[in-house]
């Protein structure tokens, strides 16, 4: 394609802003200036769909009701490991109100054993695994029918706890080697690794490459060495809307309403499972009540709803209940991370070594990410990451998969190093962190927080001790090229933006409207955004903080193409050349003579045809991708936390958080701040409260509800200050990227570091409960009988 050279803003305003020349396709629009000079982009813009949410008219999958619709419920195993000897569904099938019963052929979740016999029923691998489903005229009738199903089990030994699963003679979850495909934005899963017992791996590489240098040599060169073992818990996603679908299997054409982060993912899975061409499957997701990584594919419940709808000839709604959501719908795997770090007196890192174990239950993906490998300059590095199988529900991608666990270890060990070196942890990062964006974030964040070299750990007076801590995050900038936008412009003035991309709650509809409005000189209210439907052009999955960087450039490019066509019309009417016309405040006007202008609707009314349609797809990154389709290292963040710790009761309160973040060119400040708030609050939840508790002796989760699975409510919310740093990379026509994942990575480590600073004792395991604080302070006497 023909290329042109243009200059684009590059760098950080107020620090090192300059311009960079890039050679890009001629079809790309001219460079936007920095946000300060834009009208709609980079501002606080109201969500275009907020009205629907505040009036209760927004339709979620759970709200879909179709004529003749049935309700599906699933029978779940009540034992964690068993062979199924027989299933008798006859009484359920004959139960009044029941229209279909379906028994799964095989296990459609978790890892995939090479020996396909293993995968076939009858085999149950965790308590709560779905076995069969019933569709009936109501949920209660379906549940009554399920009670009539007779299942005969042959129980097998099981292991639900990671430490037990690592033991020599532990019951084995999978008898053969297994593999599993990762989901978009999920923790990478290295294919083809061998298992021994319940342990698979190690995985030693990532997209940043494998090990580097010679760690042993690096440790020999070090002046100081810090080592530790850090443990994180299993966290469940707990979206407010549970997983679920409504499947309408009508005349061979299928419509699936899905609470999903990926309309195309559900479409592809459905077409594959039911052997249908993709064109026969339409997936719709209008509003969805949160996903956080776990809602990428069709899921076994979706397969079940498909079979039930096919069998009954009626639409079937199958929404998981809260218990099913906790037990079966995904989780952030736990981790045991042995970490060792070596440094010179001045802080320079010489070596880093990480060995990690984690369990994603019957699934894979328990690695701890690449944050240790990528965030700091360290010439000698090696990591070995192992998956451990247990008889528990499969893990799933969860907001910055792996990296949240990884940051808890890395950012604490760096904090420990600063204590050993007697350095301000902020200054230590200045030495070891080569990222420019994080450097600016440290400067601005520290100022906003009022960071001073922390007082000596545990030195404040009285039983309630204050402490401060900081931690950093790194997240690669992923792009998905399957990102296409269609813009339709109509003579009556309507402008529609269409894409299959869905809105997970981050405001995707609104940023699309902003980008198009900015390009056309309009307001977001002038633009209608229709997304979340696979009949529209393909869009990216809402995972990996991909969406903004993937879908807004084609939206802008399509709008630019539309503008060029409209400029022709306007130029004719205004009797001038197109290059003399600017678009502003809803008008096409002559640059040097703003009185000569046409309202945009008038321009549209002069179109040759009733409707003008333009589509555009994501171009390659300007300047080329840095790694495959990854431009890395550009999404940094630094978070500062202040806590109060009651040393007599062990209770921790997070008082305030200051978060300095970047996401390229920020598009909508209000929505970005909302996501950062959310990342911090989820991070606090992970640091202090959340924990999936499985009873080791029975294999059942005992807190599969929103009552005993602890999460923060209003009084647990700290004061939050957000410092957004604009960071122009000249990477695309919008130069914007996402913020969802980076917002969540650093918080737990920052809280842990602040707790250390408050009480002078470090806590190596999440969640940091009163029990752990009191134990760390030697205030708990162990029972002599134990």
């Amino acid at each position: 394609m023909e290329k042109k050279k243009i200059k684009l803003p590059h760098g950080i305003p107020g620090y090192n802003l300059s311009e960079i020349e890039r050679e890009i396709p001629v079809t790309e629009p001219p460079a936007w200036p920095v946000n300060e000079e834009l009208k709609v982009v980079g501002k606080r813009i109201k969500r275009t769909d907020a009205l629907a949410m505040v009036t209760g008219t927004a339709q979620y999958t759970a709200d879909v009701q179709l004529p003749g619709m049935l309700y599906g419920r699933m029978l779940r195993a009540d034992f964690p490991h068993a062979k199924i000897k027989s299933i008798d569904t006859s009484a359920a099938e004959n139960y009044p109100g029941v229209f279909a019963v379906h028994v799964f052929d095989n296990m459609i979740e978790g890892a995939n054993p090479k020996d396909s016999q293993q995968r076939n029923y009858p085999e149950v691998k965790y308590a709560g695994q779905a076995i069969l489903g019933v569709a009936a005229t109501s949920n209660v009738i379906a549940e009554e029918a399920l009670q009539l199903v007779k299942v005969e089990y042959e129980f097998k030994d099981f292991v639900a706890d990671i430490d037990d699963a690592l033991k020599e003679n532990a019951p084995v979850v999978y008898a053969t080697d297994v593999d599993q495909e990762g989901s978009d934005g999920g923790e990478e899963i290295e294919q083809g690794l061998k298992s021994k017992g319940n342990v698979r791996g190690p995985s030693e590489g990532s997209f940043y490459g494998g090990p580097r240098g010679d760690p042993e040599k690096g440790f020999a060169e070090a002046d100081v060495i810090v080592e530790g073992t850090y443990r994180t818990q299993v966290q469940t996603h707990c979206p407010m809307e549970t997983h679920g679908v409504v499947v309408d299997f009508d005349h061979g054409d299928v419509t699936v309403y899905a609470s999903t982060q990926s309309t195309k993912g559900v479409r592809n899975d459905f077409a594959e499972h039911f052997n249908l061409p993709k064109s026969k499957v339409r997936v719709i997701c209008d509003f969805m009540g949160g996903g956080f990584g776990a809602k990428h594919g069709l899921g076994n419940f979706g397969v079940m709803a498909g079979h039930l709808s096919k069998k009954s000839g009626r639409p079937v709604s199958l929404m998981l209940d809260r218990k099913e959501e906790h037990v079966s719908a995904g989780n952030r795997p736990n981790s045991i991370q042995h970490m060792k770090i070596g440094a010179l007196r001045d802080g320079t890192l010489t070596a880093m070594k990480l060995v990690s174990y984690g369990t994603a239950g019957v699934g894979l993906g328990a690695g701890v990410g690449h944050i240790a490998q990528a965030m700091y300059e360290c010439p000698n590095f090696k990591s070995q990451q192992y998956d451990v199988f247990t008889n528990a529900g499969p893990g799933a991608a969860f907001r910055a998969p792996g990296n949240v666990q990884g940051a808890f270890a890395l950012e604490q060990i760096v904090d420990e190093l600063s204590v050993v070196l007697d350095m301000d942890p902020l200054k230590l990062r200045d030495v070891i962190d080569k990222s420019t964006i994080r450097k600016v974030e440290r400067i601005r964040g520290a100022e906003k927080f009022g960071w001073k070299n922390p007082k000596e750990a545990g030195s404040s007076n009285g039983p309630v001790k204050k402490g401060v801590g900081l931690a950093q995050a790194h997240w690669p900038r992923f792009v998905n090229l399957d990102s296409t936008v269609e813009i339709r412009v109509m003579r009556d003035g309507a402008i529609e933006v269409r894409s299959a991309v869905q809105d997970i709650g981050t405001g995707t509809k609104t940023i699309l409207a902003q980008v198009v409005a900015e390009e056309l000189g309009l307001k977001t209210e002038d633009i209608t955004v229709m997304i979340g439907d696979t009949i529209f052009p393909i869009g990216p999955s809402s995972g990996g903080s991909i969406v903004t960087g993937a879908i807004t450039p084609p939206a802008r490019n399509a709008a630019y193409d539309v503008k060029l066509k409209l400029l022709d019309i306007a130029a004719g009417r205004l009797e001038t050349e197109t290059e003399n016309i600017i678009t502003e405040n809803g008008f096409f006007m002559i640059k040097d003579n703003p009185d000569k202008k046409l309202h945009y609707k008038e321009v549209l009314s002069r179109m040759r045809t009733e409707q003008l349609t333009v589509t555009a797809s994501r171009s390659d990154d300007y300047g080329g991708f840095m790694l495959g389709t990854i431009g890395y290292g550009e999404l940094g963040s630094v978070q500062f936390v202040e806590v109060s710790v009651d040393t007599e009761t062990g209770f921790i309160k997070v008082d305030r958080v200051v978060a300095a973040h970047s996401c390229g060119r920020p598009l909508n400040i209000a929505q970005i701040e909302s996501q950062v708030n959310g990342g911090i609050i989820q991070g606090i939840a992970y640091a202090l409260y959340e924990n999936r508790i499985i009873d080791k002796d029975t294999g059942h989760q005992v807190n599969a509800n929103l009552d005993q699975y602890k999460m923060p409510f209003s009084f647990e919310i700290p004061e939050i200050g957000i410092e957004m740093v604009e960071d122009y990379g000249a990477r695309s026509s919008t130069d914007a990227t996402g913020i969802g994942e980076p917002a969540n990575i650093a918080t737990a480590a920052a809280v842990a570091n602040a707790v250390y600073n408050a009480i002078g004792v470090r806590i190596y395991e999440l969640p940091i409960t009163p029990a752990k604080v009191l134990e760390a302070l030697n205030k708990v006497k162990k029972n002599d009988d134990e």
């Binding site: 949410m53 505040v54 407010m240 949160g290 000839g313 009626r314 929505q671």
Partner: protein, 209 residues
């Protein structure tokens, strides 16, 4: 269970016409026409003389968002299901179905109430306000305006419950402080972490009311 013989043929599988089926007309838990005994129960059944309601379908009346509504529900039907499935008022959300998240909050005779932990039969002849009824005469409640202004919804699934809790506070306290707002929403769970904006929206709405 002890329903006297009042047999009508239940709908046959596979002979069902979608076109003729009205949305929500007796297909649901609440309005089911198929009793578990297989005996069809007709709507309009009179209360038995001994005052026992059910266990099969019974008729109740309630005023919902100012409109008188008749419902046919089983005594086990929750108010949340009755609103969502029978009346298609799906703005009221079910998050946990156990009263732990308050997403299902509605006002029952003006009092914030968990609709998932309330039996619909107990709402007979009473008045319910849901999120759909908060705006009056086409004008949004000041809190709804403030939620839009302050970006107080992310995924939006907790929003209805949050608003019903916070709007109740504004009904009772025209000058709330941060503690009051936190106290009013201390039962409302939000997974997206929208709380800071919920707080600022509520404080702002109070000023504007």
């Amino acid at each position: 269970m002890k329903q006297k013989e009042k047999k009508t043929t239940p709908p046959q599988k596979g002979t069902f016409s979608r076109r003729g089926f009205l949305k929500g007309a007796g297909l649901t838990a609440a309005g089911t026409v198929i009793a578990s005994s297989g005996v069809m129960t007709l709507k309009g059944q009179q209360f038995p003389p001994d005052k026992t309601l059910g266990p099969d379908v019974v008729n109740i009346r309630m005023k919902v968002n100012g409109k008188a509504r008749q419902l046919s529900i089983e005594p086990r039907t929750t108010l949340a299901d009755a609103l969502r499935i029978e009346l298609q008022l799906t703005g009221t959300k079910i998050g946990c179905d156990r009263g732990s998240c308050s997403a299902c909050t509605v006002w029952l005779d003006g009092v914030p109430t968990l609709s998932c932990m309330t039996l619909a039969v107990e709402v007979d002849e009473r008045e319910v306000t849901t999120i759909e009824g908060l705006a009056t005469k086409g004008k949004l409640h000041a809190l709804q305006e403030a939620f839009i202004e302050h970006d107080a919804s992310q995924c939006g699934f907790c929003t209805s419950g949050m608003i019903m809790s916070a709007a109740n506070l504004l009904k009772e306290n025209s000058d709330p402080d941060m503690e009051d707002v936190k106290d009013a929403t201390r039962g409302n769970f939000c997974r997206c972490g929208t709380h800071p904006n919920v707080f600022s929206a509520t404080l702002d709405a109070a000023k504007k009311m």
